[in-house]
């Protein structure tokens, strides 16, 4: 007869297992997936519907004014060959991915430490803080990829995007989103307040980035003085890559530079997040 050590129930106890560096993060993802299965409906509006509404309003509605004359084509060479809708479709994919990732890397992370405190529950298990950080970031990447794929599918249906370039744009969107979300998650893991700093991040970093870093018009339209600000924005690099993949061309050298910049932000962000998770959970 088998019995448990605790005497509660009779399910034979498999000995406690220590998940490895790959399995640990996957277990964290599995836990978050359980949450998602229950609540996914409540994420649809902001993750998929919102960017599509922007695409319709700006691409179709406002686009009917942009396509009007040669004025737009003079300012934006791409517009000589593609519609404004097609011009902003890949950029909105990246911008939406970055915004979704921002949402996932701010309040939910702070809540894991502060309100819901579920990260502390994980810390008491064999899953290490590093594995938890990896799992939390991996989850954001998966969420962003799924939302982006849904957006692309609908956008393709009304002709806003086409071709295999769209798949490359999806990969770019996930990379860009995570290049921003990973350092942000490290920040979220560090703050002690009720999350007021997030308002500042959203309004002074994310919103200006969305508006000025090439989503709706090329950064060449900006005054020369502020153009360098766009160049440090991860979103600009992602937009250049994604738009290049779908409607234009991007030189191999430029692409390497953009990818290099995004990857280094991502790697730095992951390392920072691991560190902040470990420090906070093992004080």
């Amino acid at each position: 007869m088998t019995t448990t050590t605790s005497g509660v129930g009779a399910t034979a106890p498999p000995s406690g297992q220590v998940p490895g560096p790959v399995r640990g993060p996957l277990l964290v993802v599995e836990g978050l997936w359980t949450w998602y299965r229950r609540h996914w409906r409540s994420t649809l509006v902001s993750s998929v519907l919102q960017p599509l509404l922007y695409l319709v309003a700006m691409g179709v509605g406002l686009g009917s004014f942009v396509d009007g004359g040669g004025r737009a084509a003079r300012a934006v060479p791409e517009l000589a060959t593609v519609s404004y809708l097609q011009y902003i479709a890949p950029a909105l994919l990246v911008a939406a991915a970055l915004q979704n990732a921002t949402g996932e890397a701010t309040y939910p992370v702070l809540s894991g430490f502060k309100w819901q405190r579920n990260y502390w529950a994980v810390a008491a298990t064999p899953v290490t803080p590093h594995q938890l950080a990896h799992g939390a970031l991996l989850w954001i990447a998966i969420r962003v990829a799924v939302s982006g794929a849904a957006y692309l599918l609908v956008a393709a249906l009304f002709g806003a995007v086409a071709g295999v370039g769209a798949l490359a744009a999806l990969a770019v969107a996930v990379l860009t989103a995570m290049a921003f979300a990973a350092p942000l998650a490290a920040f979220s893991a560090s703050i002690r307040s009720e999350g007021q700093p997030f308002n500042v991040v959203l309004r002074f970093v994310v919103l200006p980035m969305t508006l000025f870093a090439g989503t709706f018009f090329p950064v060449e339209q900006l005054p020369a003085l502020v153009r360098p600000l766009a160049w440090i924005a991860p979103l600009w690099h992602g937009t250049e890559l994604a738009r290049g993949a779908v409607v234009g061309e991007v030189s191999a050298a430029a692409a390497t530079g953009h990818v290099g910049y995004l990857v280094s932000l991502l790697v730095g962000g992951v390392l920072l997040t691991r560190w902040r998770f470990r420090v906070r959970l093992t004080a």
Binding site: W35, A121, A124, T125, A283
Partner: protein
């Protein structure tokens, strides 16, 4: 995994599941734990009794392998938390001071998700969850979200969750703080069953009744140090008396009564609102007090408790 048999063997040889010597925890300039020596043996229920801020929770977090020690030595289940943290955590259960359940999942999902973190197979976790729901008397609420549950139910769920990996050692940090009396008794009953089943329990509490109910052996902590150690009965024998007489006076009359009271008892403690007389025979001491002309407005003869032990050792009460 090659060291695993070695670790298991050492645990079998050594009955101490937890062994701490000269254990210190410092946060910046603040020394929360100032060099304590503690041993917890297999099958016993061990308590850390002390007021808030005594260093109990810091000690518990070090034992739970989520807070590295500053200095001293610590062995949990034969391993070093600094090196074997994940492997030790795989074999212990933790009930934190503040519930950290996932409020947006159901009761059952909380057990499933948590069990998976221990690398347990899905089928096993599912079966185990049903047993634990039954144990925690939560079967009827299994598919409800956690958020609207009562404090007592959430606490029972947290305890059930801590048992999902069938731990050899269960750490409970202030298990019943903030619960109403009925919920506390239900919880104590569940913990008592675990103890009967041979689970090793480590409990921190600032409630002396909880310590007396649950603990075979305990240490009294104050200001990061262990000030006494023993079974509840031993501690009461050594630091209090069999019986205690409590005398309450009208405002302003207590001070005059102190010299008289000192002649009637082995020891007298003056609290802001009453005098405590430590004596072997309470009724006799009370009769003597009346004979000597003391006129308290209220009197009580009771048994000595751990509260008295703590008061004697530190000059302060447990809950302030």
């Amino acid at each position: 995994m090659s060291e695993e048999p070695d670790t298991v063997a050492s645990v079998i040889r050594d009955t101490a599941l937890v062994r701490a010597s000269g254990l210190v925890k410092r946060f910046g300039d603040f020394e929360a734990v100032r060099g304590i020596d503690v041993e917890v043996h297999r099958g016993e229920a061990f308590g850390f009794l002390g007021p808030n801020g005594a260093g109990k929770s810091s000690t518990m977090r070090m034992i739970a392998c989520v807070s590295p020690r500053t200095s001293g030595d610590l062995r949990v289940l034969g391993g070093d938390p600094d090196v074997d943290g994940p492997r030790i955590r795989a074999r212990i259960g933790v009930v934190p001071q503040q519930d950290n359940l996932d409020n947006e999942l159901t009761v059952r999902q909380n057990l499933h998700v948590y069990g998976r973190y221990f690398g347990l197979p899905r089928a096993h976790v599912r079966a185990r969850a049903e047993e634990l729901l039954d144990f925690a008397q939560l079967t009827e609420r299994a598919d409800d979200e956690v958020e609207p549950l009562s404090g007592g139910m959430k606490r029972r769920l947290t305890i059930a969750r801590s048992l999902v990996n069938d731990p050899e050692l269960l750490l409970l940090d202030e298990p019943t703080t903030g619960l109403d009396p009925q919920a506390r008794h239900l919880l104590w009953d569940r913990l008592f069953r675990l103890k009967q089943n041979g689970v090793t329990l480590i409990v921190t509490t600032h409630y002396m009744d909880e310590a007396e109910q649950l603990c075979d052996r305990l240490v009294v902590m104050d200001d990061g140090r262990v000030v006494a150690e023993g079974s509840p009965a031993e501690l009461i024998r050594a630091h209090a008396s069999r019986e205690v007489v409590e005398l309450r006076f009208a405002p302003g009359h207590q001070e005059r009564a102190v010299p008289v009271a000192r002649e009637l008892a082995e020891r007298v403690e003056a609290l802001p609102d009453r005098l405590l007389l430590y004596t072997g025979d309470g009724e006799a001491a009370l009769a003597a007090a009346h004979r000597r002309g003391l006129q308290p407005v209220a009197t009580l003869v009771r048994r000595g408790t751990l509260e008295d032990v703590f008061l004697h050792l530190t000059g302060r009460s447990l809950v302030d």
